[in-house]
């Protein structure tokens, strides 16, 4: 399934909704969305992943990029990640760097 990333900004968060398969060919699109999100200097970056079916290493790299791009003061939320995607994040230790939730509830 084709990858898509749409950005929506609210007063206190930038929300990127992901769908499809986030592989190496899709990662640049995700990175572009992250760069656009960074321009509004949001307090939080929220990644809606309910419809993301697969994430390759390139996708995880993009998450790392997001964390670095936004700065350590910006909370990174991963919302509704499907099991395989959540597992990948956990196995590689990246769950320490993000807040993983089933539904978006700002802490």
């Amino acid at each position: 399934m084709a990858f898509d990333a749409t950005l929506e900004t609210t007063p206190d968060a930038a929300i990127i909704t992901l769908s499809g398969e986030l592989d190496a060919s899709a990662a640049p699109k995700f990175r572009t969305a992250i760069e656009q999100a960074a321009e509004s200097s949001p307090a939080r970056l929220v990644l809606m992943m309910q419809n993301l079916d697969y994430m390759a290493s390139a996708g995880l790299r993009a998450l790392v990029f997001a964390k670095q791009k936004m700065g350590s003061s910006v909370e990174l939320y991963v919302i509704g990640a499907q099991e395989a995607v959540a597992e990948t994040i956990e196995l590689t230790g990246f769950q320490h760097s993000v807040t993983m939730q089933s539904e978006y509830q700002p802490v």
Binding site: A24, S25, S57, R61, T88, T92, G93, S97
Partner: protein
């Protein structure tokens, strides 16, 4: 490119050359390997004798290359080809090299431009992404160099730097530790699976885990495939045969299929550190997976055969490793590769130390002669980046060099003490004439390590090579038929004893005897001066059914059966209490050897030897008793007061009485462990030792050991 990009305006980030649509410029010779640079990838590869070099670029997994880019002559400096190629996707890139040059084996040259070669500095290697998945043998490029990223978030982790004298090492195999379904982990046989078992390691009490090889190797090397069923029966399971020194084994990662093994392994190291457990890697620099002249050309053979391997004057491979080829470790280029590799693992993976397989080879010259001052060993000992890493030598090789006690140590290297293993085993089974040497080994081998201290001695009774502890007390002979070599492989000098029946038995007396012998071995190991090393699973009574060389079995024979944790809960409890007892008593963990004198004025020497009579050890050939006392006021040179310990062994078949040394007035002997007692009386929780009724004399049953603690009796 955004305005803040640091690459803007820098002329070195723009191409000067083009080839078939790819833009390039001359690269940076250092570092070797493939490195991400702004806008591109820097490739650097060494060969002293090639006449031309071509970079071969693949899309991940593709059978045919996407492009081949010859290095222009002006991109070569000295013997190094380097080139930056722009606009590559590091996520999907796989690369290799074709080297042109003479095919002249007698001169040591084996160039073959038809072969695609892996980068010896590849940080990630594709091609064996998931353990045991049979590869496509028609793929012309089996082991594929990839890029790694250095963006892991360590969250402040630093190597633990636990003092060597405080270590308890636990040798284990990443796959075997959790592959068995009884492990109950979500990702059996992987780094992630091992991570799930960290609470177990912590509870057991180990603070250093030594991982059998995790550098990329090929489990299908020498695999036996059943021609009818296609089933693989013999793997290269242990992995002592390196494909790439800089890359973690993808098949050991649950995320190997995604190419995320680097992150998964780093996560394991980070979480082990959080639990206070160091990570030592078992590294194999003595040979490679390319084997002898019949083996595959994976990398070094085709890049620069005569530099990387020790060759005979006729151009054949010297074989000091017993596996076909021998890495030419003291050639300056190879020496640098080894240094680069270890620095990389220390810096990038936060590894705490290294155990060098057949390390004596690292001290041989290019023609195989042992060097008196081997430059590689010296360089490692004094390397600024490795300065706090533990360096442990397996101080022998398969070419007959045996250097236990004489390894060129530069006051830095520790050794696997094979002599500790041999004499403890012989004493345990009741051999005559072992007591004097046993005492020397238990004291930290001052005969061998007088200038280096007991921390130079890694004490062990079992390791992956040889019997498990349970098998050591259950078999007189090895039973390696399953290896398919007519029981001809594996060591014959096991110093093992079956207790009366070879292999499994229902005889309760023999089973009780075996249980005691395992505990006696544990007591010897954990009360000795030096650094104790256990083999994973020995604390559970793990068996390999008498096989003492299980290198090729990816089966339950090699996988830890976690149901043993319930079945042998008494043994696990014994080990765990003993490990925590060692941590609780600094008197067991001295940096320097004992003197035998009382230099703090406590009235007792730091270490004293005893026999059935106090102060009168029996050193005679027929002796099967030995006891020693460690005065707590001398712990760590008197710097860290501890209780006084008394440890006694009786390996005769009869009960023996031991007269006990007298303690200062306010102290009494308390029993911590007595292996002649059935569980749970065989050991108690450290700190809860019970008062011995008769303070002057103790009876010790046949083939048993005893640990006493001297302390004021607790108020009733």
């Amino acid at each position: 490119m955004t305005a803040t990009d640091p690459g803007v305006g820098r002329i070195d980030f723009y191409p000067t050359h083009q080839h078939a649509g790819y833009k390039m410029r001359a690269g940076k010779p250092f570092p070797f390997g493939a490195t991400l640079v702004p806008n591109g990838v820097n490739f650097s590869i060494y060969s002293s004798s090639a006449t031309a070099c071509t970079l071969v670029i693949f899309d991940k997994g593709a059978l045919t290359p996407r492009a081949e880019i010859p290095f222009p002559p002006e991109f070569k400096l000295g013997d190094v080809y380097s080139m930056i190629v722009f606009d590559l996707d590091p996520e999907t890139l796989e690369y290799g090299y074709r080297m042109d040059g003479p095919w002249d084996p007698e001169a040591g040259l084996r160039f073959d431009a038809s072969k695609i070669l892996m980068d010896p500095y590849a940080r990630v290697i594709g091609g064996r992404d998931v353990w045991g998945v049979v590869p496509n043998w028609d793929n012309p490029f089996q082991h594929r160099s990839r890029l790694a990223f250095d963006d892991f978030d360590w969250e402040g982790d630093v190597p633990l730097q636990i003092p060597t004298e405080d270590l308890i090492v636990y040798e284990t195999h990443v796959r075997g530790f959790t592959k068995d379904p009884s492990s109950g982990v979500h990702f059996p046989g992987t780094f992630a699976g091992l991570r799930e078992k960290i609470p177990y390691l912590k509870e057991l009490g180990v603070n250093c885990i030594e991982l059998m090889p995790i550098y990329e190797f090929d489990e299908f090397e020498h695999a036996h495939v059943d021609p009818d069923t296609g089933t693989v029966t013999h793997h290269n399971y242990w992995g002592y045969s390196t494909v790439g020194f800089f890359a973690p084994k993808a098949g050991y990662a649950a995320t190997g299929a995604l190419g995320m093994q680097v992150d998964e392994l780093k996560t394991l190291v980070k979480e082990l550190h959080l639990a206070g457990i160091e990570v030592v890697l078992d590294v194999v620099f003595n040979h490679t997976a390319e084997g002898d002249h019949r083996g595959p050309a994976i990398s070094l053979r085709g890049l620069d055969n005569k530099t990387y391997y020790m060759l005979t004057p006729e151009g054949y491979y010297f074989n000091f490793s017993g596996t076909g080829n021998t890495l030419n470790c003291n050639h300056p280029v190879v020496r640098n590769m080894v240094l680069d590799c270890l620095r990389y693992w220390a810096a990038e993976y936060h590894i705490d130390g290294f155990r060098f397989d057949l390390a004596s080879i690292l001290g041989r010259a290019s023609d195989g002669t042992p060097l008196s001052n081997p430059p590689l060993l010296e360089a490692l000992a004094h390397d600024p980046i490795l300065a706090k890493c533990k360096l442990i030598a397996e101080a022998w090789d398969a070419g007959g060099l045996y250097q236990v006690g004489s390894f060129p140590a530069y006051n830095r290297w520790a050794e696997w003490n094979g002599k500790f293993r041999d004499v403890t085993r012989r004493f345990l089974k009741g051999d005559e004439g072992t007591v004097p040497e046993l005492a020397t080994r238990l004291a930290g081998s001052p005969d061998m390590y007088s200038g280096r201290g007991p921390t130079a001695s890694i004490n062990f009774i079992t390791a992956h090579d040889g019997f498990t502890l349970a098998d050591m007390v259950s078999y007189n002979d090895k039973h390696n038929e399953a290896n398919g070599e007519n029981n001809g492989d594996g060591a014959n000098d096991n110093n093992s004893w079956n207790g009366g029946v070879e292999g499994p038995t229902d005889d309760p007396e023999i089973l009780a005897l075996r249980g005691r012998q395992i505990r006696n071995a544990a007591v010897m190991l954990l009360t000795s001066q030096g650094v104790p090393m256990l083999m994973a699973g020995d604390e559970l009574g793990r068996t390999q059914q008498g096989n003492n060389n299980t290198y090729c079995h990816d089966t339950p024979l090699n996988w830890i059966d976690w149901t043993l944790a319930d079945k042998n809960a008494d043994l696990l409890r014994f080990f765990s209490h003993l490990l925590h007892f060692r941590h609780a008593h600094p008197v067991l963990r001295n940096r320097w050897h004992h003197s035998g004198y009382d230099y703090v004025g406590s009235g007792l020497p730091d270490l004293s030897w005893h026999g059935q009579q106090a102060w009168r050890p029996d050193w005679s050939p027929s002796s099967r008793t030995l006891a020693f006392m460690l005065d707590g006021k001398h712990a760590r040179g008197g710097s860290q007061p501890d209780q006084t310990l008394y440890v006694a062994f009786n390996t005769s078949w009869e009960t023996r009485g031991f007269e006990l040394p007298t303690l200062p007035d306010d102290e009494r002997w308390h029993v911590f462990a007595n292996t002649s007692m059935p569980s749970p009386e065989d050991i108690c929780t450290p700190g809860e030792e019970w008062l011995l009724e008769e303070q002057a004399y103790v009876l010790l049953g046949p083939r048993s050991s005893l640990i006493l603690v001297g302390k004021p009796p607790s108020p009733a």
